[in-house]
Amino acid sequence: MTLVGPGTAPEVAATTLETEPAAAASGFVVELDAFTGPLDLLLHLLREEQIDIADIPIARIADQFLKAIHVLGLNQAADYLDMASRLVRLKAQMLLPRGAVGDDWEDPRAELVRRLLEYQQIKEIALWMADSAERRAVKFPRGYLPPPPEQPPPPLTLDLLDLLAAVERVIAGILHPVLHRVVARPLNVEGATLRIQALLTDRAEISWAEAIGPTPTIVDVLSTLLAILELARRGGAYVFQQGAFGPVVISREPPRSAD
């Protein structure tokens, strides 16, 4: 698991994050496969530097991390960039003055430390599993399997309770997303516009109640509101109130000044 290719590495300008095809060409992408993710790379860096996870010198490690992902090539490494930005943010937080009293200061590294410890444990289990699988792999099960007997098909077990439990799972699993309830546009803004224009041809001004009609549905209300706003925007109508909380008046002409 060497991080760094022959010759090049540590001097590469580390703070820029552009993807360098040059890195890919020199075979570092293959090296990226040596790590299963940004946490893995981070753990590797800490191990190399013999750093205690509980007390990470964030500034130094952040720089090294950036350097490493730059050298390794970032073509398919969105996850690494995500971690890099977290580290940079942490680095900035660590630079902030802690204030005089250190008591209620919460170490910004705590979350990262927790994740690293947790991940380290997963890696330990994974190693144990690899060992177990290896020990198991050298015990062959029977290679030759006699052809299954011709007729009696296996007795299936199926009972109603199992089926009903499955029904419940299916129902529970059916997505009732808000998405599906957003329906095709039922508003009739054009119709409302025509209606208001017709009313305004007959009369100089109408009230809001007249505009929405005698038994409006919520859709009528919304359609009319949108129609009025649109008319007002185009200068086809004027909307005003005589006073605060007064009735809204929709008018053909601009309101005369309130003299």
Binding site: F140, G143, P148, P155, L158, L160, V167, R181
Partner: protein, 195 residues
């Protein structure tokens, strides 16, 4: 058993096909064909003498260890060499969907369950629990599935009307359709989606 006999036993056991004496010889470069034959005889005698449930037989030009025929009937009865007969959760859920929605096409099943159903449908068909009952009029005329008499038989039901009716089941299993929208909820959803 001496080491060569053990090795040959392990190899015959692990090999997926009858193994020839020549192949067995490749297990150990220091061993002659005659020694392999001798070891095979010893293994065979050991099985016979100790009264094992298995024996060495010669078949298709090679050797194999097989269960003794005397036990075949019991093993078949216990169905040990067939797949486990319990339905998986995925199979049960697909079966439930078909039972309550039949005749129903694969696309609809997948929409309801949110996962691909091709493999599960094939397995359920092989197990004889569902069958193709027709074709939809929809584009591509997809196959429609329904449950079989075996399905009812396994549940011990005389016919499909005996499936528990629970109204909410049939409602919940309706495909989500555009609802009539003369209510505040939907209008609110509309405004939210627009913004």
């Amino acid at each position: 058993m001496n080491p060569l006999v053990q090795l040959i036993e392990a190899a015959l056991f692990a090999a997926p096909r009858p193994v020839t004496v020549e192949e067995l010889q490749m297990l150990d470069p220091d061993v002659s064909l005659a020694e392999v034959r001798q070891a095979l005889d010893q293994l065979r005698e050991h099985y016979d003498f100790d009264g094992h449930g298995v024996e060495v037989t010669e078949m298709a030009g090679g050797f194999q260890i097989v269960s003794r025929p005397a036990f075949a009937a019991a093993i078949e009865r216990a169905q040990l060499n067939t797949k486990p007969a319990r339905l998986s959760a995925a199979m049960l859920e697909t079966l439930a969907t078909i039972a309550y929605r039949q005749p129903v096409g694969r696309a609809e099943i997948e929409e309801i369950r949110g996962v691909s159903a091709a493999g599960v449908l094939r397995t359920l068909q092989e197990r004889g629990l569902i069958e193709v009952v027709g074709r939809s009029e929809a584009l591509g005329r997809p196959l429609l599935y329904g449950t079989t008499p075996l399905f009812l038989e396994l549940l011990g039901l005389p016919d499909l009307t005996n499936l528990p009716r629970a109204e909410e089941l049939s409602i919940a299993l309706q495909p989500v359709k555009a609802q009539d929208d003369r209510d505040a909820d939907s209008a609110a959803a509309y405004v939210e989606a627009e913004s």
